[in-house]
């Protein structure tokens, strides 16, 4: 990707003009742009609307499509949310997910900052190979690792504890964060470090006083992305946790709220909605950071 931008810069082609869109007539734009966009947005958002409307529907309207329009709700209720918060272990699951996500994100960020700095700036022998290995480990999917990890977790004696998740989540967070931070560190000019070295700063001082303050956007991007990744994690949590009080939200909702053949859709959907809200709120505050970390990981 960078070569394209470079080429265009060299050729002096970069411009911000709006292209030839002004030649398109309005009816044409409606058919080619607005209509497909509306369909995309509708399809992509409908499941969330359906989730939300089900979460606040009273039970008697839920499946009675003849007398009540399924797309709307009369007399919305918080009954399902109340049920979740006071009659199930849901608050505990939320707390577990929060704790595990924060702890594993923090550990991963700390380890990644050091690793990325070492690979990009300390330039020890084999730094390039190490960087490549980090990228390759990003490609190892959890669905291959969960069985041997379950074996290890069991042997170490942390089976069915939050610690098992806090220690295993960094396996997919560290490669990602390191890769992303390497890109950020690369963009910080060498001269800053050199002048700090000349002034007698140690490597530690350079890292904490020069590099980290400049890499704050990168840290936020990596942190947000890592947090949502660990919030969304499912297969490890499903495998390593068996008792209800240690479950995370995705596992808890699926394994404890689904009982027998009668699905309590109201409770299930409000559980899904409440469990999604924290990441969605976090995301809405940091959209640009999130997008840059997602596209950054792909582009490098």
């Amino acid at each position: 990707m960078s070569e394209i931008t470079q080429n265009t810069k060299q050729a002096g082609l970069h411009d911000d003009s709006e292209g030839m869109e002004q030649f398109n007539t309005l009816p044409r734009r409606i058919v080619t742009v607005y209509l497909p966009l509306a369909v995309f947005v509708f399809v992509l958002l409908f499941p969330f609307y359906w989730m939300a409307i089900t979460a606040i529907k009273p039970d008697y309207q839920l499946t009675d499509y003849k007398n009540y329009s399924p797309f709307w709700v009369i007399e919305p209720t918080l009954e399902h949310v109340k049920f979740l918060l006071f009659e199930t272990s849901y608050p505990g699951w939320l707390w577990n997910t929060m704790l595990v996500s924060f702890a594993s994100t923090f550990i991963s960020l700390a380890a990644s900052v050091f690793a990325a700095y070492a690979i990009e700036r300390v330039r020890f022998t084999g730094a390039r190979v190490t960087g490549l290995m980090i990228f390759l480990s990003y490609l190892v999917p959890p669905s291959i690792l969960f069985i041997p990890l379950a074996f290890i977790v069991f042997k170490v004696g942390i089976f069915d504890s939050r610690l098992a998740l806090i220690l295993t989540y960094p396996t997919f967070l560290i490669p990602f964060c390191t890769w992303l931070l390497m890109g950020y560190f690369r963009s910080i000019p060498f001269e800053l470090e050199e002048s700090a070295l000349v002034d007698g700063a140690t490597r530690w001082q350079i890292l904490t006083k020069v590099i980290l303050p400049l890499a704050v956007p990168g840290l936020i991007s990596a942190g947000i992305f890592a947090f949502t990744l660990s919030w969304n994690e499912f297969i490890y949590a499903l495998t390593f946790i068996s008792s209800s009080e240690n479950k995370t939200v995705p596992v808890g909702v699926l394994t404890e709220l689904v009982r027998g053949d009668i699905y309590e859709w109201g409770a299930l959907m409000s559980g899904a909605l409440l469990g999604s809200l924290p990441v969605v709120i976090l995301y809405s505050f940091f959209v640009d950071y999130y997008v840059s970390s997602m596209t950054g990981a792909v582009k490098e």
């Binding site: 003009s17 990644s112 669905s143 069985i147 041997p148 074996f151 997602m294 792909v298």
Partner: protein, 309 residues
């Protein structure tokens, strides 16, 4: 300070002063984590595939027995077929629809940042939780899709989304595509934004149609990023577990069992860690092939279309 033995002082000195010592020290936390919880398990997984380990009991070496057993297991081959079908169909759909959405979003639109933000929502929300919404949408009796189609008079009875093998496959693929489109679209959009408009203008002045501009300018310039995005997309799809586990758990009659879900089912509820590990290991060659195919297959196109190396 001065009472320190000379040897440990020199190691400390090496660690803090030399390039390699400092690099080693800084790499240590990440390396310990990745070696203990990634490299070691990867090797252990391969080893477990050669044993008859069960949960809480170390197995003994049984050679290729697990693999021979799997080779004769029709369910395993069905899961291989399902995984291929799932990956190929879902990836193609994600690519086509994602590229389309990216092209739309690359236009001059009001509230562009807002649209970009809400379009990414399916990717942000935990898969299990959005899959639950799909489970409800695909309900055999009260599916909202069936309701709408019945009201429109297109069908006479509710569609059995997850009960019929063919429908179940289509349904899980649809849910996977729904979740994957935003990733492809937003990543490709980032690539599209680096293509200068002036190239399009010049081509238009030379009489190129919009389709020619798309195939001769946009696609070749976008190919490197398409290769990377689709490689990741194939990787995520191939190893998908959550969606299937929520929607069908592999049913009906194993029609939607992927290798990952089969491996989980045999290893954790079934207790046969060795056999599950063997299935997971069997995923690796297929996975490598899929990654290499999508990466180099797409990279080569770049060269064929004269995109330079």
């Amino acid at each position: 300070m001065q009472a320190r033995p000379a040897r440990s002082f020199s190691i400390l000195g090496w660690l803090l002063e030399s390039r390699n010592g400092l690099g080693f020290l800084f790499m240590l936390p990440a390396a310990v984590f990745l070696l203990c919880f990634l490299t070691y398990p990867l090797g252990l997984g391969v080893w477990l595939g050669f044993t008859d380990a069960r949960i809480g009991r170390e197995g003994i070496f049984v050679g290729l027995e697990n693999y021979i057993w799997l080779f004769d297991d029709p369910v395993f081959w069905l899961s291989v077929f399902n995984t291929m079908l799932y990956t190929v169909v879902a990836s193609i759909l994600k690519f086509a629809l994602g590229l389309w959405l990216a092209l739309i979003l690359n236009q001059h639109l009001p509230f562009k940042t807002f649209f970009r933000a809400i379009i990414l929502l399916p990717w942000v929300v935990p898969t299990v939780l959005s899959a639950l919404a799909f489970w409800w949408i695909y309900d055999s009796q009260f599916s909202i899709i069936s309701y709408v189609l019945m009201n429109l008079g297109l069908i006479s009875e509710p569609i059995n989304f997850l009960g019929d093998p063919g429908m179940a496959r289509a349904s899980v693929i649809a849910a996977n595509v729904w979740r994957g489109i935003p990733f492809v679209a937003i990543s490709l959009l980032a690539g599209l934004q680096t293509i200068p408009q002036s190239l399009n203008e010049a081509a238009a002045l030379d009489g190129a149609t919009s389709w020619q501009r798309f195939t001769k300018i946009t696609l070749p310039l976008l190919t490197p990023i398409i290769a990377v995005v689709m490689t990741f997309s194939v990787l995520f799809t191939f190893t998908d577990f959550q969606l299937i586990y929520v929607l069908t758990r592999g049913g009906p009659v194993n029609a939607t069992h992927l290798m990952a879900t089969l491996s989980f089912q045999r290893a954790i509820p079934g207790g046969q860690l060795g056999e599950g590990a063997a299935i997971a290991v069997a995923m690796i060659p297929f996975l490598l092939a899929a990654i290499l195919f999508s990466f180099f297959g797409l990279q080569r196109r770049k060269w064929q279309q004269g995109g330079g190396d």
